[in-house]
């Protein structure tokens, strides 16, 4: 049997299983219900237990989740969650991830929200706890034994005197017909036997032996291959397409043009690739782009949408009366998600129905987007998450899903679209935002910070398409849909709760609004103003969106202040922090790193040749969604400007640890991805187009480097809520490295990435003072 046939069979079988368990409610069109995650109405009611959990006649537990695994370990840890709450072995749990025909709508798997949503007292965790209590209740009635005297082991409920009944006997193959119970009790971490354990990744064997099916590997019968032809430059639109220019090529099925969307479909992938290269398209001249060299100044001059996050209204007065005022400006470039695989998707559009195998983080929003693009009803579109190369945010996954859908609709056959590297880098993805950030701080005579002001500019255009904005990514725009853009607006005084989701507010501020203080620090005179301006390029939520950029500016500036007052940077941070969990991670990282209390720069560092230093940065991610402190130790080659990182020590507090092995993997990867971004990654452009369009021009640190040691301290807090974890370490890296370079050399890097040229320029500036 060929793999393509087996895929069809798999879907059929999988569909049949679902039908036998729970489809009666799942697929009932009258069961439309509003989800609790800011989602749209769905045919799968998230308030119903049967939407989440099914027990088969064989006792196998199937869990349906809207949070999927891109490589961050979410499949393994959600399987642990089900096994723990239902007291069944891991291999008796089957997890179905993100398929709009069968899983509840949990929006997008992003923003370090999977753990908060599914591992506390909502979503999957609440469903699993509800199911366990329901099964205990059923067993109690069947066995005539009070619940308090029942125990569960391996999916069997045991009563005294050897009475027992299995889950399969209780409910196998039947519906629970229950609502999720908000009062259902999670099993306490003190009793966990599966959660909290370093369970190995469940897909590692199939990955390491090449068996794992990525979306790139999906093949269905009758499938054709598509390639897209993107505009050669920003702002160019189609004048004409010469279909005859590819007529001589074998295998070409169709040239598809829809407004400015152009693609080709062919029998073979190689034929599609050649046709896409050969197709003659007449494009309008491009728009002029703002020069990259002066882009940060350009941003400041644009009309902006402004937000005052905090404003104690006494900052100017404090600054005027202070004995010392420090100021500095930090700049952070556009960066790419730069997935290792150029994005790929497969769509099969037949009449008014469509099926899309997509690596998207957002199956339901993608369902809506595809429906809008194709003119179909969302109910008739099925989006099946199929893992692609890890995305770290909004890579080309959504846009290539649209590409495949449009091309399949045009040829009435399944079409697989593979973007090229250039498609992905020049157009396919929504870049991480460029930012420029001004900092000012006032110090009293003792060297304490008494006022802090932060004013930032970030460039934005498009973003996640959500349910209603397919134009937020390139394919939607080319097909005629408008992206969301920035509407200039003046800021008003902040009201309500502190909103620090972007980490606009430094950790050292009180973050007070109308007397209610949500900040982590003690500086009460505070003002944080954020401007959002229109970006010439599509932007999106690249891993730790804005949180990383802002933390870079805050944590380097704190380091500048502590150096100015000749204080130890760790002690100085602690002196201005109030939040116990922040204090906890800072102390833990310093202790694990063997931090020597002293001011920067390093008095022991060599004044020529190789200089050595250490730096610290910390952040309360999104204000309260995880806590991390990171120590970086680095060498700086004064002659070449090269930076070599020797060691990272991270201390993380993300509440109760569900899987320490997976968490360490995320923290290690985040630290090194952050290092690559801090040292070399930068989107570049000329007058009309992006020029960083391959790995030759977008610089990712390869595997063949001297890999720094990464040590991780996990502060397990069983009594706290579970927070996000995947974006913790990366958020602190640029700042910790900038501070380490300063410690080593006394030169301050205020613009990322810290390329050898920038390091040498900073060293020269330092020497000329």
């Amino acid at each position: 049997m060929s793999p393509s046939l087996s895929r069809r069979n798999f879907l059929k079988t999988s569909g049949a299983l679902i039908v036998s368990f729970s489809a009666a409610t799942l697929l009932d069109p009258l069961a439309l219900a509003q989800g609790p995650f800011g989602t749209h109405m769905s045919h799968i009611d998230p308030g119903q237990l049967d939407s989440w959990i099914a027990v088969g006649a064989d006792g196998l537990v199937t869990a349906y989740t809207g949070k999927c695994d891109f490589g961050q370990g979410m499949a393994t840890v959600q399987t642990q969650l089900i096994a723990e709450e239902l007291r069944v072995p891991l291999d008796r749990v089957r997890l179905i991830q993100c398929d709009t025909s069968v899983t509840p709508d949990e929006g997008t798997t992003s923003g370090s929200q999977s753990t908060p949503v599914n591992f506390n007292t909502s979503g999957l965790a609440q469903a699993a706890a509800t199911a366990r209590e329901a099964l205990l209740g059923l067993a109690s009635r069947r066995l005539r034994v009070p619940v308090s005297r029942l125990t569960i082991a391996a999916g069997v409920i045991n009563a005294p005197a050897g009475k027992r009944i299995s889950y399969a006997q209780l409910i196998g193959g039947k519906h629970f017909n229950l609502k999720l119970n908000p009062a259902a009790r999670r099993r306490p971490p003190s009793e966990w036997t599966v959660l909290g354990q370093p369970v190995p990744s469940m897909d590692i064997s199939s990955l390491a032996t090449g068996r794992f099916e990525f979306v790139h590997n999906v093949r269905v019968p009758g499938m054709l291959h598509g390639r897209v032809v993107r505009p050669p430059a920003i702002g160019s639109t189609v004048i004409s397409v010469d279909e005859a220019s590819v007529r001589d090529l074998p295998g070409v099925v169709k040239v598809v043009v829809l407004k400015n969307f152009v693609g080709v479909v062919a029998e073979k992938q190689w034929q599609a690739e050649q046709a896409a290269r050969q197709l003659k398209v007449n494009w309008t001249p491009p728009v002029a782009l703002p020069p990259q060299q002066t882009f940060y100044d350009y941003m400041r001059k644009q009309p902006s949408r402004d937000m005052l996050v905090v404003d104690s209204q006494d900052v100017e007065q404090k600054l005027a009366g202070a004995s010392t005022v420090l100021r500095a400006t930090y700049a952070y470039p556009y960066q790419m998600h730069g997935s290792i695989g150029a994005s790929c998707a497969l769509a099969d559009v037949q009449g008014d129905k469509a099926t899309v195998w997509s690596p998207t983080q957002s199956v339901y929003p993608t369902r809506s987007g595809v429906a809008t693009l194709l003119g179909l009803s969302p109910e008739n579109v099925r989006v099946i998450f199929t893992r692609g190369a890890a995305c770290y945010g909004l890579n080309g996954a959504d846009t290539v899903s649209y590409d495949a859908a449009l091309l399949s609709q045009a040829v009435h056959r399944p079409v697989r679209v593979q973007l090229t590297r250039k498609d992905e880098m020049a157009w396919g993805e929504n870049y991480g935002q460029a930012c420029v950030i001004d900092q000012r701080a006032a110090l009293d005579a003792k060297g304490n910070v008494i006022a802090w002001e932060c004013e930032s500019w970030a460039a934005s255009f498009g973003g996640r398409p959500g349910y209603d904005h397919p134009g937020n990514v390139i394919t939607g725009l080319l097909a005629g849909f408008e992206p969301q853009t920035v509407v200039p607006q003046r800021a008003s005084q902040p009201t309500g709760e502190l909103r620090n989701g972007h980490n606009l507010v430094p950790s050292y501020l009180t973050g007070c609004i109308s007397g209610k203080c949500g900040g982590a620090g003690s500086v009460a005179s505070e003002r944080v103003l954020a401007h959002t301006v229109i970006s010439p390029f599509f932007t999106g939520p690249l891993r730790s969106p804005l949180r990383l950029q802002n933390t870079f500016a805050h944590e380097c500036f704190m380091d500048e202040i502590s150096a100015r007052v000749k204080a130890d940077p760790v002690a100085y941070r602690l002196q201005h922090l109030r939040d116990e969990r922040m204090i906890g991670v800072v102390k833990a990282a310093a202790r694990a790193a063997g931090w020597e209390p002293r001011p920067s720069p390093n008095p022991h560092s060599s004044s020529s040749g190789i200089a050595t230093g250490r730096g610290m940065a910390c952040v309360a991610y999104e204000g309260d969604n995880g806590y991390v402190a990171l120590v970086a130790e680095a060498e700086v080659d004064r002659a070449t400007g090269g930076v070599r990182v020797k060691r990272f020590v991270a201390a993380a507090d993300c509440g109760p640890v569900s899987n320490p092995a997976g968490l360490r993997n995320q923290i290690e990867g985040g630290a090194l991805q952050g290092m690559s971004r801090a040292l070399g990654e930068e989107v570049t452009w000329n007058e009309h187009q992006i020029t960083s369009t391959s790995w030759a021009t977008y610089h990712s640190l390869p595997l063949g480097i001297e890999v720094p040691a990464v040590e991780t301290v996990l502060l397990n807090r069983p009594d706290a809520e579970a927070t996000g974890a995947g974006e913790l370490s990366i958020t602190a890296v640029a700042a910790a490295l900038g501070n380490a370079i300063f410690d080593a050399t006394g030169a301050r890097l205020r613009e990322a990435p810290f390329t050898p040229a920038r390091v040498k320029a900073a060293l020269a500036a330092r020497n000329s003072v």
Binding site: L207, F214, A390, V710
Partner: protein
Amino acid sequence: MSAIPLKVNGRVHTVNLDPATPLLYVLGDELQLRGPKFGCGLGQCGSCTVLLDGRAIRSCITPLSAVGTSEIVTLEGLGTPEKPHPIQQAFIDEQAAQCGFCLSGVILTAKAFLDRNPKAGSEEIQQALAHVLCRCFTHVRMVRAIERYAQTVRV
């Protein structure tokens, strides 16, 4: 189009294709192999790596016509989930993956290099991996796994 014999993972296949077709497309589309993947199509990242007579090559920039009678081994040709090759076992033991898309490049490049240079030290291994990318930056574990395998070939 021409009928071309191709020896892959110990089996001989005959494919009827344009000889200029990149080997990667032949392996993925015609033979339905999952190991080698399209990363960049430019030979820059390593995701499409296969062994050609034991040497690691980039199948995305290798035309079918260049293969000749050489024997191709893909990541799935090395071992199975039940019986992984020792280097695959080292990656499993070290949990050396996140998304795992890059593994053909990482595992096969390291294997080909170490099999020819069993006494190579860590700096030489580093050089051998100078053009292999992992964008999840699972470097710490991957280097440990490769070092674990290196110890077995050094014996």
